[in-house]
Symmetry: C2
Subunit: 391 residues, 2 copies
């Protein structure tokens, strides 16, 4: 009987306060998170940002109990999914591979090899594809595969995105309906979908399908909710968790909350649409920061739809995904890891790869830029990184 | 039905080459591993040693495939033990808590709390108690419990050591017998028990029962082997993995190997007695370094008994331990974490706690000592740390 390994990929999160800095360093070291023209600056900048940013971030993790629950929840999801698949007669074992914290992808690959798995199904726990989430995880897995002959022998099938999965849509709709029904005036409640943002350039220049998938997904969910309840609620879709000076997908959730308050919304249901597990973005950013903004702007009843975690209908949807992936056409790791098109970094000036004039000019500019930033931050204790909200 | 959580404690090991340095830092930051008179020097010294030692250590991990298999094996042991306990009608879930690397004890505690466990059995995967292994893990768990009210509510029972466990002794004996039978002259083969060493002062000054338990354990195993085979093999017991300038338990394994070769031993069976999982000490130190010493000294047939890993008889022995712990008298975490007596650090001079003359004198001495070491190592690129084998 084929031994199937289901590799669940997610972001990872620090579980102890002292791990926050190293976690941030890993995150900002990824060129898919902060893009720089010369890779040589990646690690120093990652070190610099993570060092200066970690105390703020530590406070956020302190506020949710001292660490991220993501590993625990993801491992629970893995166990539940494994049981669901075995109940269907699929001899599956599930593994967890985090991108920026333990357990890392390397550990999962070692486990898969040791367990004599015949076929691997790669399932990112991001319903919507983005260069910076599923894309980064697929490419990490491909890097490990390139240098591991034993791993290369294994057949791999990938699930690239699954925002339209029936179980996922239905479980999101169910949880939203429960919150609507708990409102004083259910049909006057406003639904605020909030997704993790990405830089606008990812979508507009690099062709990241993320925004389209998020929009389609919100429509599918709202349609399901309306059909079930028999009435329509007003809704908005916005993006949260912006970092850095670049423009990200708009509207920003915090601005939408202010507008909704100003427009007289009294009962609000916030739906974290791109997160399937409770994490810092739901427990701290939405439940604490955004709630405060909402209440300050006149919203009285602030309700947040819980993340799916191990909601049985959702786990069943994941099992459907794995089952159809096994019987459907194979999507290779190369196809899944492929970027939509060449990412244009600086469209205003032609960029050339290699050690050439263009590179040297940019090298000088970036070095001066980073030097000035460091100078201000270190000497004056304030500067551009504080100004743009990175510190 | 009582939900039992079985907490398996072990050392932990880096799974990726880049994790070797941080792992060593964690290891040497533990005052149970390197004892200093003033805790303030602990972290700088840990940083210094781990930084300078990591490239040598990385090479060792490279030689065994790029990382430690300890997490993977320990999680396999956890799964097998869980199944064995459930087959006996005990509603058990097992958890892994590593002391110096991921998954850390904090993660296991979070999982235990989330799973609504009623009773925790703490089982160190060290058969023999030592201040620096089980002792350090018990105290780590106690520190976490002291600051966690939810965790304090949980009933905890500890297994302090289990070197005389029937399943453990029997499975060690079985594996040794297999190796003896594979020798050309089975009754002429020499058995070399090798245990992880500890500083002699732990045993002689602090009262660590480690050496006694190792000796008793070797006798139990050899007795079982003799009864089963019907003949006696010569055997020795020695200690490996010494680090630093201090005297450790003797004889040292490398010296014993030289002597055995000089005495004409041709077939040798090395038995890693204090390790229940394959790790750097078995796969690299014994299989590569000690094998080389043995072959260079005239030993022809060098055989190493495999670590127990998930050997069914061994897992069954662990299940016996958990079952009797649940029905037997309760050993609390405080009792398990207790040191045998106050550790005497510098018996040649009376040590007084607090900021007093004695502390200041030692402060000055240690600061000068560390400064001189750093100076030699950094400026000349060679010095005392190289000389004593730390680098």
């Amino acid at each position: 009987m084929t031994r199937v390994g289901v590799l669940l990929m997610n972001l990872g999160g620090p579980e102890r306060i002292k791990d926050v800095g190293p976690f941030l360093y890993n995150l900002f070291s990824d060129p898919e998170i902060i893009r720089l023209p010369l890779p040589i600056f990646q690690k120093p900048l990652a070190w610099f940002i993570s060092t200066l940013r970690s105390s703020k971030s530590q406070k956020a993790y302190q506020a949710i109990g001292g660490g991220s629950p993501l590993r625990r929840i993801t491992e629970q999801q893995a166990r539940e999914l494994q049981s669901a698949l075995r109940n269907r007669g699929i001899n599956a074992t599930s593994y967890v591979a985090m991108r920026y914290w333990h357990p890392f992808t390397e550990s999962a690959v070692e486990d898969i090899k040791a367990d004599n798995i015949n076929e691997v199904v790669v399932l990112p726990l991001y319903p919507h594809f983005s260069i910076s989430t599923s894309g980064s995880s697929f490419r990490e897995l491909r890097r490990l595969r390139e240098v591991d002959k034993e791993f290369q022998k294994l057949s791999i099938r990938c699930i690239r995105s699954w925002f339209d999965n029936t179980g996922y849509i239905a479980s999101m709709a169910e949880l939203i309906e429960q919150e609507i029904s708990s409102c004083e005036s259910p049909n006057a409640a406003h639904i605020c979908f909030t997704a993790h943002g990405v830089p606008k350039s990812y979508v507009e220049e690099a062709g990241d399908p993320y925004k389209d998938e998020i929009q389609d997904c919100a429509l599918l969910i709202i349609d399901k909710v309306e059909k079930s309840l028999g009435f329509s609620n007003s809704y908005t879709l916005s993006y949260q968790s912006r970092v850095g000076p670049e423009e990200w997908l708009k509207p920003y959730t915090e601005e939408v909350l202010e507008e909704l308050g100003a427009n007289g919304v009294k009962e609000l249901i916030v739906v974290p649409i791109s997160f399937v597990s409770e994490h810092i973005e739901t427990l701290q950013e939405i439940d604490i920061e955004y709630k405060k903004i909402a209440l300050n702007n006149g919203i009285i009843n602030f309700r947040r739809v819980k993340a799916l975690d191990t909601y049985p209908l959702f786990i069943n949807g994941l099992a459907d995904l794995v089952a159809s992936c096994l019987s459907g056409p194979e999507i290779s790791l190369d196809e899944a890891a492929k970027l939509p098109e060449k990412v244009k970094l600086y469209p205003q000036e032609k960029w050339q790869w290699g050690w050439n004039n263009s590179a040297e000019v940019w090298n000088g500019r970036v070095a001066m830029f980073v030097f000035i930033i460091c100078f201000f931050e270190l000497v004056i204790g304030n500067g551009p990184l504080h100004y743009i909200g990175l510190l």
